[in-house]
């Protein structure tokens, strides 16, 4: 019993939970200020998510890309890198899989995996650019990944316009059916919610994340570089190579996420006026999940539910959907400034110390 209590009073558990609660409270204050009923709003959010099998399926669809981008940010973080670029890697994964999905005519068992792999490699290479710039030229990866996000956005739009445009529309042609990873049978079970094999891939990716980092030698190196690059260098590890590798693997996660959005959900790529936002949400997911694979999955579930359920708040309580961005950003803020959170949960932590 004491061990259970120990888990729940651990800082790595308490801080995110407190941050989530504070975030929801901030949202409630914003709703009160806007003349809405926060309790009714949050209730309709939950109702939206669990209300029908279609909505529940669509929530799963919403969660899936967040797992990928969350893993992307978390993986780089473990090697001491801040990957703001999951957004761009995601977009590059989208466009690569779109290109493969439209251009080739192959049997489904080759075409779909090929399109996913194309997304993975393209996202990985996009991430590796930032990794290489850091390793070879010492450029801060935060700035380069921000810049690469915008380059990715315009590049993808250009490729769609120049090569794959569906006449008269602001989107590409449809990918070939053989490249689709939609899960028809499961989709039917959820009232034709857009479910796809990508969700399974996301969970496998989380397992891969765990095994690679904690069960292999290269994972040990990656983590060592993250904890102390100087000591790792002294121990004979190649810090620069690890930096590039970490950004490649991180980019791969995001790239697969982008590929799955195209191959499993939309089956075409739109010309985007703005960033789709999955990469940025991934930062929130990784932070709240403490950069662990299980944490990322839980974080993705939370933010996926909030994002999808926001439409319910609009319907049930008249609250504009943007409110959920206020909640999510407050959660990120409180996780970042955990000093503020610790101030709120101090009594809990002290009780633990007293109990020992």
């Amino acid at each position: 019993m004491n061990r259970v209590i120990a888990i729940f009073t651990k800082e790595s558990f308490l801080v995110p939970v407190a941050a989530i609660i504070l975030g929801l409270l901030t949202g409630a204050v914003a709703m009160l200020a806007g003349g809405f009923n926060p309790i009714q709003a949050y209730a309709s959010l939950v109702e939206k998510v669990f209300g029908s099998s279609y909505n529940f399926g669509e929530t799963i669809r919403q969660i899936t890309p967040l797992i990928f981008t969350g893993l992307s940010v978390a993986f780089a973080f473990r090697t001491g890198l801040f990957n703001i670029g999951a957004e761009g890697q995601f977009i590059i994964g989208m466009i690569a899989s779109t290109a493969v999905g439209i251009s080739f005519d192959l049997p489904a068992y080759i075409h779909a995996p090929l399109a996913v792999i194309a997304g993975a490699l393209a996202g990985g290479l996009w991430g590796a650019i930032a990794g290489w710039l850091k390793a070879a030229r010492g450029v801060n990866e935060v700035i380069t990944t921000i810049m690469l996000n915008w380059i990715a956005l315009y590049f993808a739009n250009y490729v769609v316009k120049a090569f794959y445009l569906q006449e008269g529309q602001q989107r590409s042609e449809m990918i070939k059916d053989s490249a689709s990873i939609s899960f028809a049978w499961l989709s039917q079970m959820f009232d034709s919610a857009r479910l796809h094999w990508g969700t399974l891939l996301a969970i496998l990716a989380a397992v891969f994340f765990y095994i690679l980092l904690w069960k292999t030698k290269s994972g040990f190196e990656l983590r060592a570089v993250g904890l102390n690059p100087h000591a790792s260098e002294y121990a004979g590890m190649n810090v620069n190579r690890n930096v590039v590798n970490a950004m490649f693997v991180g980019g791969m996660f995001a790239g697969i996420g982008g590929a799955c959005e195209i191959l499993g959900v939309f089956h075409y790529q739109s010309i985007m006026a703005a960033q789709p936002g999955y990469g940025f949400d991934g930062i929130a997911v990784a932070l709240i999940g403490g950069n662990t694979p299980l944490g990322v999955i839980l974080g993705a579930i939370l933010f996926g539910m909030l994002t999808f359920g926001a439409a319910g708040m609009k319907f049930g309580a008249g609250v504009p959907v943007e409110l959920i961005r206020v909640v999510i950003s407050s959660v990120i803020f409180f996780v970042a400034a955990h000093g503020i959170v610790k101030f709120f949960i101090k009594p809990l932590l002290q009780k633990k110390e007293g109990g020992n």
């Binding site: 450029v139 935060v142 921000i146 940025f280 943007e322 970042a336």
Partner: protein, 319 residues
């Protein structure tokens, strides 16, 4: 069209597009020179565009043409307030400055559109403003052929931006405040030792940063778009950040970079007029600022190095 007129128009448009970038890049400069990373410029601009538009909207009936000025001042104050959580988190609570910036960017778009919908009965953008800044025709000078239209028929905000560049240069390099600001960003411990209040300097810098970036955002709403919507700013905060780095954290450099990126936007409309989009895709022009910034950072086109203590938390107790 004759080439003189075309170039005149190009310069004119460049200045219009660059103004917001100059404000925001200068804002970023104060924060980063003091050692606090500011990737929240985008969010601060969004808040500025929003408050600028809303203040103007409510002021326009009673104050007429004075309304946009009220909007600009309102944005300035709102920006400073909005920057405060970033300062509190990254200076007092020693939070990761990048994460805190990401959070503010998120918050800005969410909060501003949320409030817009509440104020304007569910509409995603403010109603079109009746009163926005109109262009000044500077007497005599604006009569000069070509150059007159290019430079002396601009929005008042553009002239304010250029004046702020000069002022910032003076402040940064010719006053004790500037010396202290730079000292805090380069070597906070040494600054602390000689009696400079590091935390107070950084708080001031971050709040100035928010005020200026917000003025930049307000400029967009009150000159080019005449309203606020979720895509009023759309990435210009990040271009401003790029301009700051491209301009090597120097006011004149940042202005030069902002003007250069402004040309890119002005050329875009020129390219469309001449039907050159076939040869030069607009996307390539959009990408240009970001690609150039990466090249500069990589040392391909000159070297750009950040203030030494940028992003480092200053802890009075540590050595």
């Amino acid at each position: 069209m004759d080439w003189g007129v075309i170039i005149g128009n190009l310069i004119h448009d460049t200045i219009v597009f660059s103004t917001a970038l100059i404000f925001a890049a200068l804002g970023g400069m104060y924060s980063e020179r003091s050692g606090v990373v500011n990737i929240a410029l985008e969010g601060m601009m969004v808040i500025g565009a929003f408050t600028g538009a809303v203040f103007t909207f409510f002021a326009q009936d009673s104050f007429g043409s004075l309304a946009p000025w009220i909007g600009l001042v309102g944005a300035c104050i709102a920006g400073a307030l909005f920057a405060t959580p970033h300062a509190v988190a990254s200076i007092t609570f020693k939070a990761d400055q990048v994460v805190s910036g990401v959070a503010l960017n998120f918050l800005a778009t969410g909060l501003s559109v949320y409030l817009t919908k509440i104020i304007f009965n569910g509409a995603g953008q403010t109603t079109t403003l009746q009163q926005v800044f109109s262009k000044w025709h500077i007497p005599v000078l604006s009569d000069i052929p070509i150059l007159g239209h290019a430079i002396f028929e601009g929005y008042p905000t553009s002239y304010i931006a250029f004046a702020l560049v000069a002022l910032s240069w003076y402040l940064l390099f010719k006053t004790s405040f500037g010396l202290r600001l730079r000292a805090v960003g380069e070597h906070p411990r040494a600054a602390d030792t000689v009696g400079i209040n590091v935390k107070r300097m950084r708080y001031t810098a971050v709040m100035i940063s928010g005020a200026l970036a917000a003025m930049g955002g307000a400029t967009i709403a009150l000159t080019t778009t005449s309203n606020f919507s979720h895509n009023t700013v759309s990435g210009q905060g990040f271009i401003a950040l790029a301009a700051l780095i491209f301009g090597k954290w120097h006011p004149a450099g940042a202005m030069g970079a902002a003007l250069f990126f402004g040309v890119a936007q002005a050329i875009k409309s020129l390219v469309q007029i001449f039907g050159l989009t076939k040869y030069v895709p607009t996307e390539v022009i959009f990408m240009l600022p970001y690609i150039l910034t990466i090249l500069v950072l990589a040392g391909v086109v000159g070297r750009s190095s950040a203030p030494a203590a940028l992003g480092k938390v200053y802890d009075t107790g540590s050595r």
